[in-house]
């Protein structure tokens, strides 16, 4: 079956400016595709650029000192980087929407849930208020909220963490987005609630054939949800692979270390392999390979020359000199 591309990110570069001339680069040379109907995972350590990548796609950097300084983000043939603010506003919340890590920061605290949901729905469709309200109730039901009429009349602070996360998912899904970006959608939740929400996201993806970019640092969640995975390290993609290959045969030394250092239920190990050292600071990126200071295979070449993202197999790319001739 040929894969149809929904989103194409080409050579994205996002910088944060502390003044007109001085900046740090949070995301560099990032390119990837998301196919229709797939769940793509994006993993990596804190600060590696996962959220900045998703905010760049959503064109939500306006309120930050961040700016896209290179690249294209093409959704269904439209480049969002050069599209007008008006066009982006129509796409955001409609064709493309986002679930944020902190539900409380994404919901308006002083507005009842019904009002917020009706507003979002009416902005992207020609439904009347009554139709929008009925649709909102239906969406809440879909995400497993037992009593939608009551929740619709609530303010966000009257809901538990799991409830407001579900409300946000319902809101993000209410206009049948083709692309859903979920930035750590379950990190703030407990495992039993997390299981409910992941189950729900999978169901919605299957039923609506939407695509999901799932950002998380939990490799267990990735293994259960995603068909392909991108691994970022210090602002760059270091590996991209189908999920079975990433877990079964990781190629980048960082990915290998990451997967080995995750404790697994029932494995019986007492000591975990660990990656020595810590992530470099954005303002003091090492030259050459950014993982070199922590990599046991690093050579002089690694410390001076930046490896490209080599194609090393079908749908498998890896940014490491060791893989150059594979």
């Amino acid at each position: 079956m040929p894969q149809e591309v929904l989103l194409e990110v080409k050579d994205l570069r996002t910088e944060f400016f502390s003044s007109k001339t001085s900046s740090v680069t949070a995301v560099a040379n990032v390119s990837f595709n998301i196919n229709k109907g797939e769940i793509l995972g994006l993993v990596g350590e804190s600060g590696c650029g996962k959220s900045v990548t998703s905010l760049s796609i959503m064109q939500l950097l306006k309120d930050t000192p961040g700016k896209i300084t290179n690249g294209q983000i093409i959704l269904d043939g439209v480049d969002l980087v050069t599209a007008s603010a008006e066009d982006v506003r129509k796409i955001r919340g409609g064709k493309m929407s986002m679930i944020f890590q902190e539900p409380m920061s994404a919901l308006n605290p002083s507005m009842r849930i019904d009002k917020q949901m009706i507003e979002t729905i009416c902005l992207h469709s020609d439904k009347t208020k009554e139709q929008a309200l009925a649709h909102a109730a239906e969406m809440l039901k879909k995400v497993g909220i037992p009593d939608p009429p009551r929740v619709l009349k609530n303010y966000p602070h009257q809901l538990s963490g799991g409830m407001s996360q579900r409300v946000m998912i319902a809101m993000a899904m209410s206009n049948d987005p083709k692309l859903l970006i979920a930035d750590e959608p379950t990190t703030a939740l407990d495992v039993t609630i997390q299981a409910q929400i992941l189950d729900l996201m999978k169901k919605i993806q299957k039923e609506e054939q939407s695509s999901i970019l799932l950002i998380t640092h939990d490799l267990g969640v990735v293994a259960e949800m995603c068909s392909r995975v991108i691994v970022m390290y210090a602002g760059k993609i270091v590996e991209e692979a189908p999920v079975e290959i990433l877990f079964g045969n990781p190629s980048h030394p960082y990915t290998q270390g990451l997967i080995a250092s995750v404790p697994k239920l029932g494995s019986g190990v007492k000591v975990l392999p660990s990656i020595p050292g810590s992530v470099p600071d954005l303002a003091a990126m090492p030259e050459g390979c950014r993982f070199a200071p922590r990599c046991k295979y690093a050579t002089d070449k690694c410390r001076t020359e930046n490896p490209e993202l080599f194609e090393i197999g079908e749908n498998h790319r890896c940014r490491c000199w060791l893989m150059q001739d594979k």
């Binding site: 039993t192 259960e224 697994k264 239920l265």
Partner: protein, 323 residues
């Protein structure tokens, strides 16, 4: 050989007042810890697991005498400590130290790392400066930091390095019991392994006893000898690690274990998806605290609190299925 408990909790409860009436009297109470009992034996790692807000940290703080229980007893090295004064507690503090969840928040930002590690020695020993510095440098080495780190401030360190400073600080006075409240939750995966391995090594070298608080069941499986599962402030199941993971008995423990995502895409396991949310700790359910989400709930569960039974040696469960 008879194992000796170093720490025992007997029917410990703690509530917090919330909301005030017009007369300034609290109107509602959060029931954070309810009737909790367990023993911790010398040299073991005893873990407390459960979801957010189930009372893990409060239990840790009660043990560490950072607060007193409303009722119940806490025995540490043969002494009942729950109601003693801070003065009486001071000599015991040396034997009981705490590592906190948030490595950044638990270190004074204006103190250099050497001063931070030295501080407990100033309080608990009469060593001179040279003697103190010798221990500080030794400890820095033990937790994998170098002498050059000693003159830096916490903000110059990564999360994992800060947590190492926290661990070094807890170890300065040779404690017997270390309460580690989510010591790795705030750290990145690759750093978590470094800190876990360090805790493991230190336990073997210094015969430490750990009370390890966590919500991560994979981590807990790795480092524990025995485990208590808490729900809504109650301990619902206590068992040696092997029994708990192989034959969980409480329906909540079963659901919790089944909800852990497995980092292996070739495995497809059947999952117990619980319905509903965790109930409020203000109005505790009359019967079983888990009844609202339990698929095996019987009429008696809504009426009566299940009592704890020892269903097999060392395996304690509070559930009407085992009455």
């Amino acid at each position: 050989m008879e194992k000796k408990p170093i720490l025992s909790l007997k029917n410990v409860s703690k509530t917090f007042p919330v909301g005030k009436s017009l007369l300034g009297k609290p109107t509602k109470f959060v029931h954070a810890v309810n009737n909790v009992s367990f023993d911790v034996y010398e040299g073991e790692t005893f873990s407390i697991v459960g979801e957010s807000g189930c009372g893990k940290s409060t239990t840790g703080r009660l043990i560490n005498h950072l607060m007193s229980p409303d009722s119940g007893e806490i025995w540490f090295q043969g002494k009942e400590i729950s109601k003693i004064s801070q003065d009486e507690m001071r000599p015991l503090r040396k034997d009981m130290q705490m590592i906190f969840q948030d490595p950044a928040g638990s270190l004074n930002p204006r103190m250099k790392v050497a001063e931070l590690i030295e501080e407990p020695l100033l309080i608990h020993t009469d060593l001179d400066e040279a003697g103190r510095m010798k221990i500080v440098n030794e400890l820095l080495g033990i937790v994998g930091l170098s002498a050059k780190h000693a003159q830096r401030y916490p903000h110059e360190f990564s999360g994992g390095q800060k947590q190492r400073v926290g661990i070094a600080r807890a170890l300065t006075v040779n404690p017997k019991l270390v309460i580690a409240d989510e010591p790795i939750s705030a750290l990145d995966v690759s750093i978590q392994a470094q800190v876990l391995n360090l805790l493991n090594r230190l336990q073997q070298e210094y015969k430490l006893t750990y009370v390890f608080i966590s919500h991560d069941l994979s981590v807990v499986e790795m480092i524990s000898d025995r485990i208590a599962v808490m729900y809504l402030g109650f301990v619902v199941e206590t068992a040696p690690k092997e029994l708990l993971y192989k034959t969980p008995m409480h329906p909540y423990t079963e659901a919790l274990l089944s909800a852990v995502p497995i980092p292996d895409p070739t495995l497809h396991k059947e999952r117990i998806i619980l319905e509903g949310d965790i109930p409020s700790t203000i109005n505790l359910p009359k019967g079983c605290p888990f009844a609202a989400r339990c698929k095996k709930c019987k009429p008696v569960c809504l009426e009566e609190r299940p009592v704890t039974h020892e269903v097999e040696p060392g395996h304690f469960v509070a559930c009407h299925l085992y009455d």
